[in-house]
Symmetry: D2
Subunit: 350 residues, 4 copies
Amino acid sequence: MDLTHTEPLGVAVVGAGYWGPNLVRNFAASGRWDLRWLCDLDRDRAAAVVGRTSPTRVTDDLDLILGDPAVVAVAVATPAATHTAVALRCLEADRHVLVEKPLASSLADGRKLVEVAADRGLILMCDHTYCYTPVVSHIAGLVTDGALGDIQYIDSVRVNLGLVQGDIDVVWDLAPHDLSILDFVLPPDRRPVAVAAHGSDPVGAGHACVAYLVLELGGGACAHLHLNWLSPTKIRTTLLGGSRQMLVWDDLNPAQRLSIYDRGVDLRVADDEGRRQTLVSYRSGAMVAPSLPEREALAGVVTELADAITERRPARTDGAAGLRVLELLECADRSMQAGGRSVTVEEVGN
Amino acid sequence: MDLTHTEPLGVAVVGAGYWGPNLVRNFAASGRWDLRWLCDLDRDRAAAVVGRTSPTRVTDDLDLILGDPAVVAVAVATPAATHTAVALRCLEADRHVLVEKPLASSLADGRKLVEVAADRGLILMCDHTYCYTPVVSHIAGLVTDGALGDIQYIDSVRVNLGLVQGDIDVVWDLAPHDLSILDFVLPPDRRPVAVAAHGSDPVGAGHACVAYLVLELGGGACAHLHLNWLSPTKIRTTLLGGSRQMLVWDDLNPAQRLSIYDRGVDLRVADDEGRRQTLVSYRSGAMVAPSLPEREALAGVVTELADAITERRPARTDGAAGLRVLELLECADRSMQAGGRSVTVEEVGN
Amino acid sequence: MDLTHTEPLGVAVVGAGYWGPNLVRNFAASGRWDLRWLCDLDRDRAAAVVGRTSPTRVTDDLDLILGDPAVVAVAVATPAATHTAVALRCLEADRHVLVEKPLASSLADGRKLVEVAADRGLILMCDHTYCYTPVVSHIAGLVTDGALGDIQYIDSVRVNLGLVQGDIDVVWDLAPHDLSILDFVLPPDRRPVAVAAHGSDPVGAGHACVAYLVLELGGGACAHLHLNWLSPTKIRTTLLGGSRQMLVWDDLNPAQRLSIYDRGVDLRVADDEGRRQTLVSYRSGAMVAPSLPEREALAGVVTELADAITERRPARTDGAAGLRVLELLECADRSMQAGGRSVTVEEVGN
Amino acid sequence: MDLTHTEPLGVAVVGAGYWGPNLVRNFAASGRWDLRWLCDLDRDRAAAVVGRTSPTRVTDDLDLILGDPAVVAVAVATPAATHTAVALRCLEADRHVLVEKPLASSLADGRKLVEVAADRGLILMCDHTYCYTPVVSHIAGLVTDGALGDIQYIDSVRVNLGLVQGDIDVVWDLAPHDLSILDFVLPPDRRPVAVAAHGSDPVGAGHACVAYLVLELGGGACAHLHLNWLSPTKIRTTLLGGSRQMLVWDDLNPAQRLSIYDRGVDLRVADDEGRRQTLVSYRSGAMVAPSLPEREALAGVVTELADAITERRPARTDGAAGLRVLELLECADRSMQAGGRSVTVEEVGN
């Protein structure tokens, strides 16, 4: 395989459901890729997605795709339960793989994928889409350059009405977004080390439709996620408190997605004539909303996949990142089973 | 004591700090009350609160107040740690008592107050202010008349910057609002029965400045509170999901404080040729924002106190309601000490 | 030409600038149309718009398109100044025509187009896109069924930063949206009959970048437009006051695009013992936000064009509607030249 | 009269209607003032406003007040039509006067007041309350120090439901707010020089309930006011476009009242090989929301009145400022009578 920049790489998308069409659109629009196949058990649906006149072929047979030598990578956007099986077949056929989040439906399966990819020197990339948005890049920069100071807490609300999934609960459906963002934004020694989770299923779906995760971060701070399929309105808001600055990210407000506040609470212990006293002071300064470019994150994902392949280096959101997300999801599962007890990553790791 | 409607009742306010001035203003403006005293250790502060020219007398001596036979009731707005001592002295001097939330700084203390009041046939009322707002009355009506259907979950966010309290943590400071609202709005068999709490103190205040409470409600649904002194912006938003309707209460949006959505998720198990299948359908109907009157809740509080005294009946938010809030606060304390384990009301009750 | 429903109609788009790509996307996605050509002087741009692999041919030669007998309709999305020339050539070649707003760059030109289309029995349709949105349909329904009562005033704000056009001023750029909406929503006898316009050019663009239009409606009420290329934020808000209900349409708030208020002012003249007195009462009732479907308006435009052609009837937003918009634009031009004097449609009509 | 800082000045308020109680509250709370009288034809209303126990005396007789030698100033908050008569009596009794906006109900009346005050060396101050708010002070600072660059346009929306006034139209009711703000914020040579006004009375109130004013500013820019008593929602939003920065002032958003955008449009005329060409570029930078203190503007008004009296200097919003507002209101009146023709300040000035 000649993987120079100049020639588009052949790619196939598997899965024409909710997310697949977005992958199709971005691969088709990219100069780096030649989208050769869209595979779905429902061939009519796949045909509708690519359009009457597209050169992309439609099939319900993965083998046909893997038999096409021009296909160097496969993007897997099937239901979560089938990620492992599909991805594994592709890896074993020596194709690079991009997998929709979550990487697999269990930590064990995820590890299997990472191992096989490593053994064969293939790129295994997770489609952690948010990590390719301008707003998350900006936040990562603020964390890295110390503008926020020490992180005191993170609170994320990700709620809306539906879609109630049949095969996975609300944690496995929505938390991967937040967990992958935390993984990307935080320094390695500040990543989550334990999870306490509470879920509830008030509509009888068979698994949690409303859930709360308390994540203990390395260093002692705490992150919290509210995940909910039963909210009348859509909310996508993250608060991040830092010792220097604090921010609010409201992803549904394109005119002011990110607000950075020069606010905070400072405590100082004073010794007032032998009497220890805590003095609290508040900073309540200005707010700045940076100007962020509007660009589609998924375009960055498909470019990063091409770059990782051609430069023979791990992708920015590689299999290891996907595994760390899976570890936390497993912690959440175990915690819910144990009545909300905090479960450490170490526990599920062994 | 002659307590007819026609003559104003004598009252004293103890505490001229954050909340006291509001009580002073409302007692002074009420035709039902004659505000005779404002008591504070800082007499200058008290004098400034009543104003140069007010007939209300200022003192730092509670005995002076209790020696005034025209005083039939005392409103206690001192720091939480002193509620019990002050209230007890007033009750033992045969005065009716209105206590700022929380009723006491421990469940044991609260019980003591309730007992003494009961023994002496005195009114003991908690200033659960929110229960006297038009919006909470409206929500209570929606729950009672079944308009919301079965309650599926409740989620409340009560966050802002400061004030970091020295004597109580963020749970004891902010949760009484939400817990008293739940107590008022929910039918007795749906009230909280257990609490799992997670707190964090990233600024070194000596107690939690950020906390999350998961409340198990009678009947199995779940309520969740986010309480935070370290948020750059103020948020006061409650989501309530019901099987018929859902609502969003945004207390900071006076133009649309309450939004009631004809939305929801319905699950139906179908038998499709022997194969059990769960069918999910979504209602995504209109939203109605009722017109709510704008009136000060505290005016309702002081009127209710006068009514309870003259009608010799328990106040709407009586000592028992205050105790139920204290029980849940104690559950939260114990849960935080036990690493987030869910603690039942029954446990703390004995 | 056989124009049965079963076979897609051949169409060409002329102009690959700002709006053309949207037309291309919607014609390509429609089962009613076969998009055969995209024409632009910049062929590379046109090629990029249709995509590497599309069957739609690209050209810079309109004659080539008009020489293709399978093309029954042409959509014109060129700069406003060229609408007339391009549309006229298409009509004279016996093609149905859809023209981007405004229909032409002068009333005289617009009339010429309408005449030629009428003489040849061709469909001439204006792309008044907003008239095909769910929200405008809903408002039209409220007006028609009397739910709003008598219309008291309409106020629309359509402002944002840029794009400062070189060939047309802000009135010709933005007002066609509002004027076409008014034309669609109001009964014929309530349509605008006169315009007073004020414009200003604080950046030296050579024509108005900020403008205000006061429209006198038939029956005496008043509509007002604020049009502005120099606003730091984008606002798209319309207030409509009716004697029964009032509404706010905020097009940038997809979660609550339309709010209908049971509010109003009622005046009654009373005779109080011989003394005439005006009694004012206020209704301040609930607000309802109807659930509106999310669908792309332009899909409705291309379907309506196909329907009008096959059913041999005028399109919903036909040439006559386009002319009425042009009449008002000419009134605005003349009013600005006359220092803001109100100019009637009758004046420009003759 | 001894007017040292140390002793409070005696003051009386005339009018206990909508605004009077606010004046009463602020004079009573101020250490600079001794509020001796509240005068209203409805003595019961006045008594209710001061409260049962206040030392402020209540009367319906202005002579009684003017007979009290301790009263050095009178604040007039009666209906607009009576401002002149009441203020004149006070000035002629050698009292300093604060008048509710508008200063008088005609320009001629206003001039009379200014003359009499000047002749007698008395302070005549207009209660242009907004000029004492932190946000308007901040904006004035931005204009003065050049941070906004040249002002390109100002657009203000001041709408809500009611109160429909009987004696004055919506322009005289609401425009004084905006006109006094413009007067305060703009440099003298940039103040309004002409007004074109359009009003409408769709409910039959006898005068305009909806009005639009186009103000030509000195230097050529334009300001626009939308004034409306018939809006279902309250809006208080001002846009100000400057050549360097632009701002949005949303007075109903206390959490972000002022937003300052580093945005704008720059035009440059280039000479491209003999062909003149206008190049447009857009700045779309960050937004800053300054931290503004929350303090009651009226407290600043009563302090300024005391300062002006003791320092024997004109008040910040003096009679001359009140006259300039009256001139513009008269321009608006004449413009509405003349069908919207622009009327210059010079015309009404002579």
